[in-house]
Subunit: 325 residues, 2 copies
């Protein structure tokens, strides 16, 4: 089995690759080759079983994408994206990567002809939704993005559904909750502070909280995200019909509840490192984001959420311990 | 005031142009110039007041679209599209015109710079929805197209919302019901028979009915469509917020009810000219189309529907009488 991960140097992409390399299998099938693509090489090492090829380039260039698909991977994970904050700041770059790059991938697959029909796993986002919301967003609620990133992700979903319906490939789109706790440095996503207010205090550093304590949001851990991706790569898609993009299960908490969980796991000292520094730009972006979901279709299709928020924090402590040890 | 109609040679585009030329005004403003663009020239005549320019070309060519926008029309009506049946049969052509052409238009406007901010009226379609449906589709129901045409129209909506939100222009999208009675010859739209079963019997000809009598669908007249377009061109868009694409009001009838209206207006003789010729391809496409709506936002925004179906048939008789006399 041959796999391609587009966006393999990102936090989720790298973790996905490492998870697959650890077992050398996907859904019981032996993985022989993994192509790891990103704007800069992911520098992943081959294992005894899996030959890793590290590739880099720009998916807004069609020829680059054609070359990625030319070796006909059985499963393609498309995780590459310009994140929300940057797509809002650089309109052209957001559309070039998030919309054109995705379309190039789908066209490159189609250009291989009718005897090639890979599984394509596409990471979408809850940013496809925009306020005002249902109390809990259901599977038939309007997608009305309020950012360019959300619009671009939704266009990718429409293309994925249409190309799958036409039989060009077998697509599954997963709308990820906000992933916490992201390790490492902040990226340009407007959602970055949701990780920062956990990660920085645990590392003994101060973190800025730009929104009010009563802001409610929808979360999943990196482990849960990898679980979603692996399940999307191997599930039976017949059950999805023509609606192949699903709201992933997650946890809905207010900032106050997130901070309670931080105190439960790491004590008052950690909590005291969270500084309230209101930021009107971030506050406005976040106000347009969903708060809670009833992800019935995804649950019925076998996707599973984290058990609770303290376990998300403990998993981060475990992972960052590994990283520093 | 300068206007541009893209798709001016089509049934709705031509009727819109003729309506504007008749009064020489739009919302009380004097119209000085009307550019009428289509794949073939619309051949509209200037009036004493309005200078008409007939233009032709291909909107999938960016330079062509740039030249249309260069004279900075105050209002742009974008009605051009590859219809559903043709977009399903020719995947590349559908995306080139319906998706790329629309994006070219929006980019051409943006390229004019921040001192240009036209009203853009975009005709979308109820084909952005796909089964299974709510009993009556509300304004917050999921758009899940089941045709390439529907996907392309929905991508145009997402772009229109995002470009409007970013302040590049002031867009309004109107999701038209199926327009009946279309005059003239059938086009390649899978919905063509809805007009055919009225138009042909009234002209003394036989018409084929490819679906069952209990099929329910959502209709508006050409007059109602022109009303929607003129209202969308002149309404206050502040009330729409970031959701600028609306389900237009219409009438929901089964085929049996449509045929009852035909008999009411034109008698048993007309009804007898409707021949049941089941077509599995059309039946499947139509099964994925919406049947009924609760278009609350559009009604609140001042859009108005036809009073009843017999009045739609009588309007067609009046119009076709004008045409032949």
């Amino acid at each position: 089995m041959k796999l391609l991960i587009i966006g393999a140097a990102g936090m989720i992409g790298r973790r996905l690759a490492e998870t697959i390399l650890k077992t050398g299998t996907l859904d019981g099938h032996r993985v022989d080759a993994l192509a790891a693509f990103d704007v800069a090489p992911a520098d992943l090492a081959s294992t005894a079983q899996v030959a890793v090829t590290n590739l880099s380039g720009d998916i807004s260039d069609r020829a680059t994408v054609d070359s990625l698909v030319a070796h006909r991977p059985d499963v393609i994970f498309h995780l590459a994206a310009i994140v929300s904050g940057e797509a809002e700041a650089d309109f052209d770059k957001g559309y070039a990567i998030n919309m054109d790059g995705t379309r190039h991938l789908f066209e490159a697959i189609r250009a291989q002809g009718p005897d090639y029909h890979p599984r394509v796993v596409y990471t979408s986002s809850i940013a496809v939704f925009g306020a005002p919301f249902e109390e809990k967003i259901t599977d038939t609620f309007l997608t009305a993005p309020m950012t360019s990133y959300g619009a671009q992700k939704m266009i990718g979903e429409l293309l994925l559904n249409d190309y799958s319906r036409k039989g060009f490939f077998d697509g599954v789109g997963i709308r990820l909750p906000t992933i916490v706790v992201r390790p490492g440095k902040p990226n340009k996503a407007a959602s970055g502070f949701f990780s920062g207010i956990i990660r920085e205090p645990l590392a003994g550093l101060e973190a800025e909280l730009p929104v009010e304590d009563d802001v409610r949001h929808w979360f999943a851990s990196p482990d849960a995200a990898i679980g979603f991706l692996l399940h999307a790569a191997t599930m039976d898609t017949a059950q999805l019909g023509t609606r192949r993009c699903l709201n992933m299960p997650g946890l809905s908490l207010t900032i106050a509840e997130v901070l309670d969980a931080l105190r439960e796991v790491a004590g008052d000292e950690a909590l005291a490192r969270v500084k309230r520094v209101p930021d009107e730009t971030i506050r406005e972006i976040v106000a347009g984001w969903p708060r809670d979901f009833a992800p019935d279709l995804a649950l019925a299709a076998g996707f599973t959420a984290d058990p609770d928020f303290p376990s998300i924090i403990r998993a981060h402590i475990r992972d960052s311990g590994h990283a520093s040890g």
